[in-house]
Structure formats: C-alpha cells, structure tokens
Amino acid sequence: MMTRAAYLRTTHLSRAAALALAAAVMLVPANVLPVLSTNTGGMARTDTIMSGIVGLWHDGMWAIAAIVFAASILIPLLKLVGLAWLLIAVRRRSTHQRRGLTKLYNVLDLIGRWSMLDVFLVAFLAGAVQFGALATIEPRAGIVAFAAAVVLTVLATDAFEPKLLWADAAARPRHPEVAS
C-alpha cells in the first residue's frame, strides 16, 4: 500500500541512491587511472590524482597539494559518505538529528561544485600548455571518470529531497527543534 508521498519518497530515494552508487563506482577508475600525462622537454610522466598530490608535496608546494587533496579526494569522498548517511537516515525514517542532517545537505550542495576544480585545471592545462616538442600536457582516462563521478554526485545531491527528512513531521505534532 502506498500513498503518493510514499511513492515520491521511494523514487527520490532510489534515484539519489542509484546516482550516488554510480558516482562511487566512477571514483574507482578516477583514482586508479592516470588523469594527466605531462611531457616537458622530453621528460614524460603520467600522474594519477594521488601521485600528483604526492609530487606537489615533494616539490614543496604544500598549500597547493592540500588544496588539490581537499578538492579531488576529500570532498568527493565526504560528499558520498554524507549522502549515504542522509539516505540511510531517510530509509530508516530516523527522526534523529534532522536539523543537523538538513544542514549537512546544504553543505554538500554547496561544496559539490568545487570538486570540478580538478577537471577545470586539467582542461585548462591541456589547452594552454601545448608547446609541441617542448611541453605538452594530455588529459587521460582518469579525468573523464573523475568528472563523471563529480557530475553524478551533484545529480545525486539534487535528486535527494531534504524534505524527505521531514516527511512525517507534518503528520506528527512534534517540533523538530525538540527532536534534535
């Protein structure tokens, strides 16, 4: 038996969950495969996201390494974990911490776009650094997977309805402030 609200709940939930799962799947090739190969003066190297961060760190560019680490590894991961948390909370019809979870959703929505930093960086470098034999930068398969993961996460966040957290709030005469 299903009410319209319950139907919407299931659709939104499964849509968000499916997209989040797809994003999680794409994160694997995004991190395993090289995202960029550079060829400067014949010195060729191919980097995955992590090896690029390690390289930056070794070169003494700690701040940039930290930013890239945050934008490319930490944020996508946190987003997916946060999304999973929200989905589980809705699925369990948990009324616990609704307020905090709504805030979490807003934060996830906000930080999602920053993950595209990497993709823009690679796209920019690949476009800008084409000096033929001297230096070329080429995007590799990993960056496509990474972009797909970021886009899927954004879509999953969009598909998720924060309203679902409060689905039964109207039905029950209980104040959310009290619940949290």
Partner: protein, 306 residues
C-alpha cells in the same frame, strides 16, 4: 478500472530498476576503462646496474628500436650498496623482450670520435635501452655498465687481427675493401702475453666471402703524408678513418677458401703497392644499402647474384 491502490505498486516496480541502470552503466564504463588501462601492462622486471646515474622512477623510459616499451617504476640501492636495482614495467606487447640474455644499458649522451650517440638524452634525461634475449622468459637481469659496442653485431663474420700496436684504431672504425666500407672494428685488447694487440673486426654478411684465408689486412687509418723532390702527397682512405682509424684488406687473385669465423690475421702497418692490383672476382650478395640497383645494370649486372 484499476483502483488507486494498484497503480502505485506497478509504477514502483518500474521506477526501481530504471534508475538503477545508471550505476550499472557506471560499473560497465568504469570497468572497461580500468581494463583498457591494465590490458597494456606487461610484466614487471628488475635490472641491476653498477650505477643508476640519471635514472628516475616513473620518468625514465625503456626503449627498444627507438620506441618506448616500458617505464621505470622504482630505483633502489642494492642491499650490499654495490649498485642499483631498477624496477621496470614493460608494455604488454614488449613482454617478449624480457628473455634470458637480454641486454639492458643506460643511455647517456656520448660524444666520441665515432660519432654522437644518445644526443637526445641531453634533453630527456637518461633512458634505458634493451637488446632482446633469446632464452627463456625471465624477470631479473643484470644491466651492462655501458652501451654494448655496436648495434646489430650478430650478423656477419668476425675476424681477429694481430698488430704490433693499436695505432689510432677505435671501436666503430670502418673496415674497407676497395675503399668501400664492408665492416667495422668491434673491440681491441692486448694479447695474453702483451706482445701484440688483438683487434676484432666484423665483416657484414654480404661481404664475408671477400675474406679468404690468404687475405691481407693493413692499417688504413690516419693520414699518410709523403714529401719528396717532386711534391707532396697526402693520402687518407676516408675522412672517417682519418679520425677513428680503420682497416683495409685485399684478397689475392688466386682463389683460396673463405676464412671461417674467428680466423686470426696479421694486421700490416702499411699496405704493399701490389695488393692494390689484385682483382679477384668474388660473388657477393648485394647489400640492401647498395646504390639504386637500376644504376648498376649493364656491365655490372653479371656479377650480381639473382
């Protein structure tokens, strides 16, 4: 008419699998991407070198015939501190290079009298070159301390020349027959009793028939300069041999059997005028690098083996 109770159940069944196609597609695409990347991965091999100057992990390439066939994964010091161990990931299609007897060496820019070698490594850093082995597939190799004498040494026929002194002979110096380059000097060393110098030369396959058991070799290197009352005469076989030294040989008219591999000859310091008059007719297999064969038609044609 269906009731309001039935309709959602049906649409629920439909809506559920539809969106779950997305992670399935992601799995398929992601799996394919990873598979495609790893499909090209060949075996991992380790090579021990006496020194690893210029070899860098994940940067230095392994090349064969000028094509990259692998990348250095790691460079470690050996436990006994007596050299370095280089770990290399070969590409899949180059896996058959890693067989017993394969030779690896590190290429540095080298500027010598015999020419400039590895000049591109000035910009690219060192790289590792390989000459494939013929034995069983192997994963551990001992690298050469320096580049082996010359490429493609495995064809032709080698002879040893015994000389009083080395002169200006250096590896890679040309060997001439009628001032045509038919071979190279490979290596040289003192004889065991140090009474003479042994020089190993290699004649290219098309010309091995030219060397007979009674062939005479002489040192054609450097420049001979003669001056007398009638004038001065400067003689040099070629510009190349002027710097690197060189060997020339002539075979007498009377036919003797072809000299087998490794035959020892005496290297005369100078040639005899008579040797230049010898004109034995010996059939040779024309090499690929011969001038345009059409230009050889005519009087030369009968000498060319079909």
């Amino acid at each position: 008419m269906s009731t309001a109770l039935d309709a959602p159940r049906i649409s629920r069944r439909h809506s559920l699998p539809l969106i779950w196609i997305v992670p399935l597609i992601a799995l398929a695409v992601g799996g394919w991407m990873v598979f495609r990347e790893f499909r090209h991965r060949g075996p991992e091999i380790t090579i021990e070198f006496p020194e690893g100057k210029g070899v860098e992990a994940r940067k230095t390439a392994v090349e064969y015939s000028g094509v990259t066939v692998g990348t250095v994964l790691a460079v470690d010091l050996k436990e006994d501190l007596n050299g370095v161990r280089v770990t290399v990931r070969l590409e899949k299609n180059a896996a058959s290079l890693a067989r017993e007897g394969a030779q690896f060496w590190i290429v540095h820019p080298e500027i010598g009298l015999t020419g400039v070698r590895g000049i591109e490594t000035l910009f690219t850093g060192a790289r590792i070159n390989v000459r494939p082995g013929k034995g069983e597939p192997a994963t551990e190799f001992r690298g050469l301390p320096k580049a082996p004498p010359l490429e493609n040494v495995d064809d032709g026929r080698a002879f040893v020349l015994q000389a009083d002194r080395l002169g200006s002979m250096s590896p890679g110096a040309p060997v001439f027959y009628r001032e045509v380059k038919v071979g190279v000097v490979e290596t040289s060393r003192l004889d065991h009793d140090a009474a003479s110098v042994l020089i190993r030369i290699r004649i290219k396959t098309p010309y091995i028939e030219l060397v007979r058991t009674h062939t005479r070799f002489w040192n054609a290197g450097g420049v001979s300069f003669k001056m007398n009352l009638l004038g001065a005469e400067v003689k040099s076989t070629s510009l190349e041999s002027l710097f690197t030294g060189g060997v020339a040989f002539a075979t007498p008219d009377a036919i003797a059997p072809a000299a087998p591999d490794g035959t020892l000859f005496t290297l005369h310091p100078e040639m005899d005028k008579d040797w230049l008059k010898w004109q034995p007719r010996i059939r040779i297999i024309p090499p690929d690098e011969a001038p345009d064969p059409t230009s050889l038609r005519g009087p030369l044609a009968p000498l060319v083996k079909p």
